[in-house]
């Protein structure tokens, strides 16, 4: 490995009349012109991330503003029906939000207990070779493309559930929510595990020294100390579930309905965007702009959850609460 070195002048004896030995200059910035270009290129690549965010917000807000020139805030926030494509048009956002929240709640209802119990088991009970085998398996769950999960929900889960719940419709929030929950388990499990691992050993020793058994020490000392990290994991999982598209598009239906019944078809915000994108709605029309308004609402919801999650992840318990 050779490094380029500065050219040393050919003199073997440094001339005492010259201020620097060997005539080397160190006043100009080292580095060739090409190097400067490269650094500028890399800087531009970094700045790009800001432009992407600006782009996202710009595109969404631009169309949203255009949308609200024709539709009032009252129509958007107070109507309980969403029918932009029908002849009688309603633009109330709530059916879509309800659909999103319904599937998200079911997903979290599955992922939180499963993920948390997995985390507790892996960090407190499992032998290290069990941990090393199980963790990658859980990661595989996270790596399966959502289109495959969508197939699973529609083709396998729904027919199976229909045997147990007779009036379960072919498209429903329950199947989609359950499958989404399975997909999110690794997220909650691995982040919670980190939070539990961060609880100092000295606290567990303190509990044992008081004559505590293992379970009470976990539930009364370890988990409460790790609660910020677990809350952060849950918040980020909620954000993920809100933004999920393919599973709900395939399995939950495309009927915007304000309901919390998990057995009937509904439509989430993400599924609506897919529905319009695949359809025949011409660009530039009011109906088309609705996908940007819904997209903007979606963006705001996930942004709030992400910021909340990051804040929770940084919290340290006990001294500042």
């Amino acid at each position: 490995m050779t490094l380029q070195t500065r050219n040393i002048s050919g003199e073997t004896e440094p001339d005492p009349s010259k201020p620097t030995a060997g005539g080397r200059k160190f006043h100009h910035k080292a580095g060739s012109f090409a190097e400067h270009i490269i650094v500028w290129f890399m800087f531009a690549c970094s700045i790009l991330s800001i432009f992407i965010t600006v782009g996202i917000v710009g595109v969404l807000i631009f169309e949203t503003i255009s949308f609200f020139r024709e539709v009032t805030f009252a129509q958007f926030f107070l109507d309980t029906r969403w029918t932009p494509l029908f002849s009688s048009k309603h633009f109330g956002i709530w059916p879509l939000i309800a659909g999103t929240l319904l599937t998200t709640s079911i997903a979290i209802a599955v992922a939180l207990p499963f993920g948390l119990l997995s985390a507790i088991y892996l960090s407190e009970f499992a032998a290290s070779n069990v941990r090393r085998a199980v963790k990658p398996l859980l990661e595989i769950l996270a790596g399966i493309p959502t289109i495959v999960y969508g197939y699973f929900a529609l083709i396998l889960v729904t027919p199976f559930l229909q045997k147990i719940i007779p009036d379960l419709s072919g498209f429903n929030a329950l199947s989609a929510g359950l499958v989404m929950g399975v997909m999110i388990i690794p997220m909650i499990s691995s982040l919670s595990e980190d939070a539990i691992y961060a609880v100092p050993e000295s606290l567990k020793e303190g509990a044992y020294a008081l004559g505590s058994h293992k379970l009470p020490s976990i539930f009364q000392v370890v988990l409460p100390t790790a609660r910020s990290g677990i809350a952060a994991a849950t918040t980020l999982a909620i954000s993920r579930a809100i933004g999920e598209t393919m599973i709900v598009t395939i399995a939950a239906g495309q009927q915007a309905k304000l309901t919390f019944d998990p057995r009937v078809p509904i439509e989430t915000m993400t599924a609506y965007i897919v529905q319009i994108s695949l359809g025949e709605t011409p660009a530039g029309t009011l109906e088309f702009k609705t996908i940007f308004v819904v997209g903007f609402s979606l963006f705001c919801m996930t942004l709030i959850m992400n910021i909340l999650g990051q804040k929770l992840a940084k919290r340290h318990i006990g001294t500042t609460e």
Binding site: G206, Y208, A209, G211, S212, Q220, V221, P224
Partner: protein, 279 residues
């Protein structure tokens, strides 16, 4: 109001024939009778052939240079030593005449009779001060909710912390100063009503004023509890203890009345240590 002495005396044995403690009132003089105790981490032996008796309601200090095994020693007395992977011990440690290493003894129950305070104070940060004090009882399922305040007050008074925290009982356990946290941990250990209190260098993380408060506390606690304190500070050992044990690289070199050990030690190694020739 429930007096702490009315809390049930804990049997350390489980299963059939769990022994009734003999002669509770006519207290045995020797709280611990230790016989031929060995302890190791993996293949590394840390304690060799330790034999001594620890007197009841006395303060016994354990001194020695770093690595001599003194922390390991007290951790065998409440069977915390074996919780470390690869660690083990052999020999006999009799607590009131019963061997704590016997198969029928549940270590968890043992620790309710033999409490421990650690070098670095470890109050539970997710709990308030009040909850910290009664944590031992709540963890073991022995706490009835209406007792919490009374028990906490009594324990905090015993630990000389009550006046400083009585108006802040709901604040988190981590919000106190280092010395206060350590006294909180002492209160927490006392609330479980142990017979013995093991203290592993309890003052080494504290400033001199906090240290003095805790030493004063130890002198008071001696009237109710048997105390074994590990310390690297010889002056501290001389100040608070009745008897002192000097450990060196895993051996018990000398064990005598404190005043005698520090003024006329029998073993040359003890003399070298207390005069500062090493360690």
């Amino acid at each position: 109001m429930v007096l702490m002495s009315e809390l049930p005396k804990i049997e350390i044995k489980t299963g059939p024939g769990g022994g009734r403690m003999a002669g509770g009132a006519a207290a045995k003089r020797m709280k611990f009778s230790i016989d031929d105790l060995h302890a190791w981490y993996g293949s590394h032996e840390v304690l060799r052939d330790i034999t001594l008796d620890i007197g009841e309601k006395k303060v016994t200090a354990v001194i020695g240079p770093s690595g001599c095994g003194k922390s390991t020693f007290i951790r065998t007395l409440n069977r915390m030593h074996e919780t470390i992977r690869g660690a083990g011990q052999s020999g006999k440690v009799l607590l009131d005449g019963e061997n704590i290493f016997d198969k029928s003894v549940d270590p968890v129950l043992l620790r309710r009779r033999v409490g421990m305070v650690f070098q670095k104070p470890n109050p539970f940060p997710a709990m308030s001060i009040r909850d910290n004090v009664v944590a031992g009882l709540r963890l073991t399922g022995l706490l009835k909710n209406f007792q919490a305040d009374t028990i906490a007050e009594k324990a905090l008074k015993q630990a000389a912390l009550w006046n400083e925290v009585k108006d802040h009982m709901n604040k988190p356990g981590g919000s106190l100063s280092g010395g206060q946290q350590q006294r909180l941990c002492i209160a927490r250990s006392l609330a479980v009503n142990p017979e013995v209190l093991l203290m592993d260098e309890p003052c080494s993380a504290l400033d001199p004023i906090a240290t003095a408060k805790i030493e004063e506390l130890i002198r008071q606690l001696r009237e109710e509890y048997t105390i074994i304190i590990v310390t690297h500070n010889m002056q501290q050992a001389a100040r608070v203890s009745d008897k002192t044990a000097f450990f060196l690289t895993g051996d018990l070199v000398e064990y005598d009345i404190t005043e005698k050990l520090f003024t006329k030690p029998s073993d040359k190694r003890t003399e070298d240590y207390i005069t500062g020739k090493f360690g």
